[in-house]
């Protein structure tokens, strides 16, 4: 069993260095220090704790890593340039190391704030102070505590009441050197406002190992609507840890999709807390682990009040001695009557050397609810394979078709066609479909 040890670089001096460097307000420094205390008080997860039982923790080890510094090279890769061009975004930002290397936005809608978190602390201090740490904070896990104490920059979006941002906004996070990278996205969508946001993580391969700890906080006020995409396609020398959590007000709606394709190991914790009556949360997920990758997904649908609707669909495939785990929880509080909550996890196991663990769970404390969960794991159905081959498709082509077809159900529900196309292209590249390039 792996035992994780602490990192000597995570300390008060590191906080002081960041706070001093950016001349941070006292409240933020105090928050960081409190987060560090939580971090220090919290043990590292072990595989004995239920939440981490099937996580290969050693692959998320931070011992000996230094905090991320400025990038060696501030240039933006061709891949990211193409992704930006392809995203139709009104505003994009590129984070590299601890720097913002690109920020461009021409947002026509009034009053929208889209900037890096560092600038937001200076220019929109009250907004940031009100919402930062309100959703993802140091009380949750060792890694949210680490992020809360030591994040250096990130992305901030605020959409004012009744404003609909028509085109997507996006943040691309990349790196060219190892260490501990910390990313933070804070999205606040005010009453009856609308937004589409894309968070993408990608890099060209580099020598050192990078542990990236991402925190995504989403605040949806009454009637707010957000489409959110988290697309992880790091190079294989990266371990990615991500907590993505949303709080939903009355009649708010979240449509999220979390995609894990790259990196050596990745854990995505995707959580919604339905706080306002009538709120809706759709959480989609797609993962495809190959060549020994290890992907962990956790979902939480927390119905804290009545008449909420939530639907989780996570689908994944594994091959080449890889592993994937899914664990999902629906929690319905005592007062959350008329809840509708669904949770589905389906996995394709493409060889005997790979492994899938799927654990759907329910905790229901109300009596007038509709809840269901389901999980399946198995190989490609033989009758489908035979059918395709009987039309002349070679076995490997039949497998490509069946895997992409299986995962397509998730992407077909994402209302951003270009994102869906890109994800399908990366999947095809991983499968080795001839003529498709995207592999890292």
């Amino acid at each position: 069993m792996a035992t994780l040890t602490d990192n000597v670089n995570v300390n008060e001096a590191a906080i002081a260095a960041i706070s001093d460097r950016y001349d941070e307000p006292a409240w933020l420094r105090a928050e960081r220090e409190a987060a560090l205390r939580s971090y220090a008080a919290m043990p590292f997860p072990t595989e004995k704790t239920e939440e981490w039982r099937y996580t290969q923790l050693k692959r998320f080890d931070i011992a000996g890593l230094e905090l991320a510094k400025a990038p060696k090279d501030e240039s933006i890769s061709e891949r990211i340039r193409m992704r930006i061009a392809d995203s139709d975004a009104e505003g994009v930002m590129v984070h590299k190391g601890n720097q913002v290397v690109l920020k461009q936005a021409q947002i026509k809608e009034q009053g929208v704030v889209f900037t890096d978190l560092r600038t937001a602390v200076r220019e929109h201090e009250e907004l940031v102070r009100e919402h930062l740490y309100s959703v993802v904070n140091a009380t949750q896990t060792k890694y949210t505590a680490l992020n809360s104490a030591l994040w250096e920059n990130g992305t901030f979006v605020y959409v004012p009441k009744d404003v609909e941002v028509e085109l997507p906004l996006g943040a691309f996070t990349t790196a060219d050197s190892g260490g501990i990278g910390l990313g933070r996205t804070l999205i606040v969508v005010d009453v009856n406002a609308r937004l589409t946001f894309l968070d993408e993580y990608t890099s060209e391969p580099f020598d050192e190992r990078l542990f990236f700890d991402a925190a995504t906080e989403i605040v949806l006020k009454d009637g707010a609507k957000l489409r959110y995409v988290s697309l992880q396609n790091w190079s294989r020398n990266v371990a990615h840890m991500n907590k993505l959590r949303a709080h939903l007000g009355r009649d708010a709606r979240l449509e999220s999709v979390t995609v894990s394709l790259g990196g050596d190991a990745a854990r995505a914790e995707v959580e919604s807390r339905l706080e306002g009556p009538g709120s809706e949360s759709e959480m989609l997920g797609l993962y495809f682990a190959d060549e020994g990758q290890h992907f962990n997904q956790f979902t939480l649908q927390h119905h804290a009040t009545e008449r909420g609707f939530s639907d989780v669909l996570f689908k994944g495939a594994v091959r080449d001695a890889s592993s994937a785990t899914y664990s999902g929880m629906i929690v319905v509080d005592p007062g959350a009557q008329k809840t509708d909550a669904y949770q589905t996890n389906r996995n394709l196991l493409l060889d005997q050397e790979s492994e899938v663990v799927s654990i759907p769970q329910l905790e229901i404390a109300a009596n007038d609810v509709k809840c269901s969960h389901g999980s399946t794991t198995g190989p490609v159905p033989e009758d489908q394979r035979f059918y395709l081959m009987s039309r002349g498709l070679k076995p490997e082509v039949a497998e490509h078709v069946l895997v992409t077809g299986f995962l397509h159900e998730v992407m077909s529900r994402v209302t951003l066609p270009k994102v869906a196309e890109y994800v399908e292209r990366v999947v095809q590249a991983k499968l080795g479909v001839p003529g498709v390039k995207e592999k890292l």
Partner: protein
Amino acid sequence: MSDKTLEIRNLHARIVDGEAILKGVDLVVPRGEVHALMGPNGSGKSTLAKVIAGDPQYEITEGDILLEGQSILEMEPDERAREGLYLAFQYPVEVPGVSIANFLRLALNARREEGDEIGVMEFYQKLQRAVKELNWDESIIERNLHEGFSGGEKKRSEILQLLVLEPRYAILDETDSGLDVDALKVVSQGVNAARGPEFGALVITHYQRLLNYIVPDKVHVMVDGRVVRTGPKELAMELDQKGYEWIREAVGA
């Protein structure tokens, strides 16, 4: 017989590690002819169809299948298809997330050399012709393969694929089952469109009804894992009138 025939020679087969189902089938379908294969339920007709296509659920214990003189027993299902064999399934499977158009393009390209993929125009013309032949709406090609299809639509899809892939030999496994008269006419029209000197077919059916629309050159009757009688198309009528018991008694099976 070797040239331009599909020949089944003393074929014995069973479900892997199960009971024998085919017990010495002999049958020859020349290219350019359409033969009917009839027989009571459980006589082994569908098993024969799947065994010819290479279904891994079955194993062959004796005999041979010769495609234009060449044994195909060692060939995988995809190789058999590329050699010009086609099975229209009795129960076509649903394959989610794959459109009919994409699937057929892959199937056609599987028959061509790498770098010689079919052109977009040529492909769509081929597809449109086939869709039209079956009085179908063109939007069908963008639908996922059999996802949410009715039984009749699935059967029609099997014939659509046949028209696009242009096999040398097709086996139609109870393509008429579950079809109403109108659908039966459309499907038959499709099969008849494929008929010609370069196309041979074995049409498996339980009822004579289909053979009013697809008129066979010969009729074979299968009972208990063997072809017990072969005759002209009138044999089908006779069977329809007298029933399969008549044949059982006639051959002493």
